[in-house]
Symmetry: C2
Subunit: 346 residues, 2 copies
C-alpha cells in the first residue's frame, strides 16, 4: 500500500512545504450524504460501526463524493466503554447515544473490564478494509475519545447541557474519577496503537467535553489524562502524528507539553489567536464554524478564504471544520468548502 498519491496531510503535519492546504471534515462520513443514509437504512448505527465492509464503504464515500484529502474511519468513541462492559444504545438523531446503566459509584468503576482491545477487532478490520479500497489514494485517520469525554458519557449516561451528574461525581469523588480516567487512558493507548497497526496514518483524540469543566478542573481531570494517552501512543508509534482536539477550552496554557503532535481548534476560538498562543512547531487543524455550511456558497467561499488567511504560510496546517459537519448541510455546500481550500494557493 502506498499513501504517496496524496501526501498533503502528512507533509503538512510534519511542517513540510505544501502547494495548498490539505482538507477534511469532522463527521465527513455521515448523515448529510444521501449515499451514507442509503447504507444506514440497511442497518442500525452500531451495526454499521461493527460491519467492516459497510464501515469501510461509508468511510470512503466522502473521498469520492466531496473530494477530501483524508478518510477518517467511520466509528464511534463510545465503542470503548461498550467493550469495557457497559450496555450502549445509539439511536442516531434521537437524542444521541446513551448508557442505560451509567457509572454511579467507585464500585461501578471497578467492574469495568480491562484489556479490551481484542473486542474492538471490527474497528481494525474496518481500517484495513478501508486501506484496501483506497489503495493509497488518501491517508486514513484513526481516532478515539479522550478519557474525560468518555467518562462524561459513562457517568452522565448520555449527552447533557450541564453534565451535572458527571461534574458532581468528579467534585465529590475525585479519587474514583481519577481511577476511571486512568483505566480509560490505558485502554486508549492500546486501542490507538492497534489502529496504526491496521493502517491508520494519523490519529485524533477527541475531547469533545473538555469545556464542561472549569479550566483548573479540566487541567486536572482532562488534560492530564489525555496527555497520558498522547504520550503513550507517541512512545509506541513515534512516526504517526496524533492530534488532540479539546473542544471548548479557554486557553492553551500547558498544551505544548501535552504530548500531542498538533491540535484541532474549535470554531469558537479565533484561529489567529491559537496560532499565536501555540508554539510554531505544532501544526493546527480547523476551524470553520459548521453553521457556515448552512449559508450560500459565496458566503462559504468568503469565510473559508478568511480562515485560510489566518494561518502563517509556513506553519503546518490542515483545513477542517471546527466541529462535526451538521446533518442538514447541503452536499454542494460541503463541496464548496472543500473546493475553496483546494483552489487557494498558499
Amino acid at each position: 500500500m502506498n499513501d504517496q498519491q496524496n501526501s498533503l496531510l502528512l507533509r503538512s503535519l510534519r511542517g513540510e512545504p505544501v502547494e495548498r492546504r490539505p482538507v477534511w471534515m469532522m463527521r465527513q462520513a455521515g448523515r448529510y450524504l444521501p449515499e451514507y443514509r442509503a447504507i444506514r437504512a440497511t442497518t442500525d448505527f452500531l451495526g454499521l460501526c461493527k460491519t467492516p465492509d459497510l464501515a469501510a464503504e461509508v468511510t470512503v464515500q466522502p473521498v469520492d463524493l466531496v473530494g477530501v484529502d483524508a478518510a477518517i474511519i467511520f466509528s464511534d468513541i463510545l465503542v470503548i466503554p461498550e467493550a469495557m462492559g457497559m450496555e450502549l444504545i445509539v439511536e442516531e438523531g434521537k437524542g444521541g447515544p446513551r448508557f442505560p446503566n451509567p457509572l454511579r459509584a467507585e464500585w461501578d468503576v471497578d467492574q469495568l473490564a480491562s484489556g479490551i482491545t481484542d473486542r474492538l477487532r471490527f474497528v481494525f478490520d474496518a481500517i484495513a478494509e478501508t486501506k484496501r479500497r483506497l489503495d493509497g489514494r488518501v491517508p486514513v485517520i484513526g481516532f478515539a475519545g479522550a478519557p474525560l469525554t468518555l467518562a462524561a458519557y459513562m457517568i452522565e449516561g448520555q449527552g447533557s447541557k450541564n453534565f451535572d451528574t458527571f461534574k458532581a461525581f468528579l467534585f465529590a469523588q475525585p479519587a474514583a474519577a481519577h481511577r476511571l480516567l486512568e483505566k480509560l487512558a490505558a485502554e486508549l493507548i492500546d486501542y490507538l496503537v492497534e489502529q496504526t497497526r491496521a493502517g491508520a496514518n494519523m490519529l485524533q483524540l477527541f475531547d469533545t467535553w473538555a469545556g464542561v469543566l472549569p479550566e483548573e478542573e479540566y487541567r486536572a481531570f482532562g488534560l492530564a489524562h489525555a496527555s497520558a494517552v498522547l504520550d503513550g501512543v507517541r512512545r509506541a508509534v513515534p512516526d504517526v502524528p496524533i492530534l488532540y482536539f479539546p473542544k471548548g477550552v479557554r486557553s492553551y496554557d500547558g498544551f505544548a507539553e501535552s504530548g500531542a503532535s498538533g491540535f484541532g481548534i474549535d470554531w469558537q476560538t479565533d484561529l489567529r489567536r491559537a496560532a499565536q498562543e501555540l508554539p510554531d512547531t505544532f501544526p493546527l487543524q480547523g476551524n470553520l464554524d459548521p453553521t457556515v455550511l448552512l449559508t450560500p456558497p459565496e458566503q462559504i467561499r468568503r469565510r473559508t478564504q478568511q480562515m485560510l488567511a489566518k494561518v502563517p504560510s509556513g506553519r503546518g496546517y490542515v483545513a477542517n471544520l471546527g466541529h462535526g459537519i451538521l446533518p442538514n448541510t447541503p452536499v454542494e455546500n460541503a463541496q464548496a468548502f472543500i473546493q475553496t481550500v483546494k483552489e487557494t494557493a498558499i
Copy 2:
C-alpha cells in the same frame, strides 16, 4: 431610602476597601427555594414577573433565607422582545421560554416596536416595591439581556444547542442582524436607565449566548452592540456601576474599552487568569461552578475558599456563582456558599 446598612457591594465595585467580599448568586430568587415555589404555584412565570408585589416578594426572599448581600430584581430578559411585539411563552422547567413566531427575515425586524420602555412599567414598579420592602438593608440590582443574547432567542425562537438558525441568519444577513441589534441596544439603554430611576443601585448586562459565535463574530455582533448599551447607560447614569457578563467568551481582548464598569466571569474561566487579563481597575464578579453546590457542604466550603484566594486582596471583587444557581440545589448548600464567603476575611 438608605443603602448604607450593607454597602459592601457598592464599595467593592468602586474598588474601596472592604472587610470581606460581598456575595450574591445569579438566579438567587428561584426554584431552589421552597418559598419561591410556593409563590410560583399561585401564578405562571410571566404573571409573577408582571405582578410587582409578587416579584418584589420573591426578590427579597434570598436576602432573608440565604443571607445574600444584594437583591437582584426578579424578572426575565425576554420581557424586552415581548414588549417589542413578539409573543412569548414561558413554561419554566419545560424546555425554557420560546417565541412561537421567531424573526425570519429583515421584514420581521422592521415590524418590531420601538420606544417600548413604558410597556415595562411592571419592572420599574417591582424595583420600587423591592426598595420599599428592603428599606435599605441591601442594594438592589437591575438587569437586562445584551442585544446578541436577545437576538439569539428572537431569531432561533428558543434556547438551542447550536443556535444554527440564529447563526445562519447572522452569517447570511449581516445587515439585517446589525439593524436588529442596534434597535435592541437603543431600547436597552432606556430600559436600564429607567431601572436606576426606580431605584436599582447596580446593573448587570447578561450576554448568556456570547459563546455561540466564533470569537471574531462575537466581537462584531456581540461585544460591539453590548458596548453601545454599556456606554449609553454610563453616560446617562455615571454613578451606577454596570457589569457585563459575557458567558462563554474565550479571551478578554478589547473588553477594557467596552464601557462596562466591571465583568462577570463564567465558571469555565479560571478567575486567576481573568484577574490577570483584565486591567486592575475593573472589578470582577463570579465564578463558582454552580454544580459545586450539588456536592457536600465541606466540598462547597473548600472550593469557595479556593475561589476567594484567586483574587488579589486589593481588587474590586464580588463573590458569586459563574452561572445561575441550579434548581435542584439544596438550600443548605446555597447557605454554605454564602456563609463561607461571609466568614472569609480578606
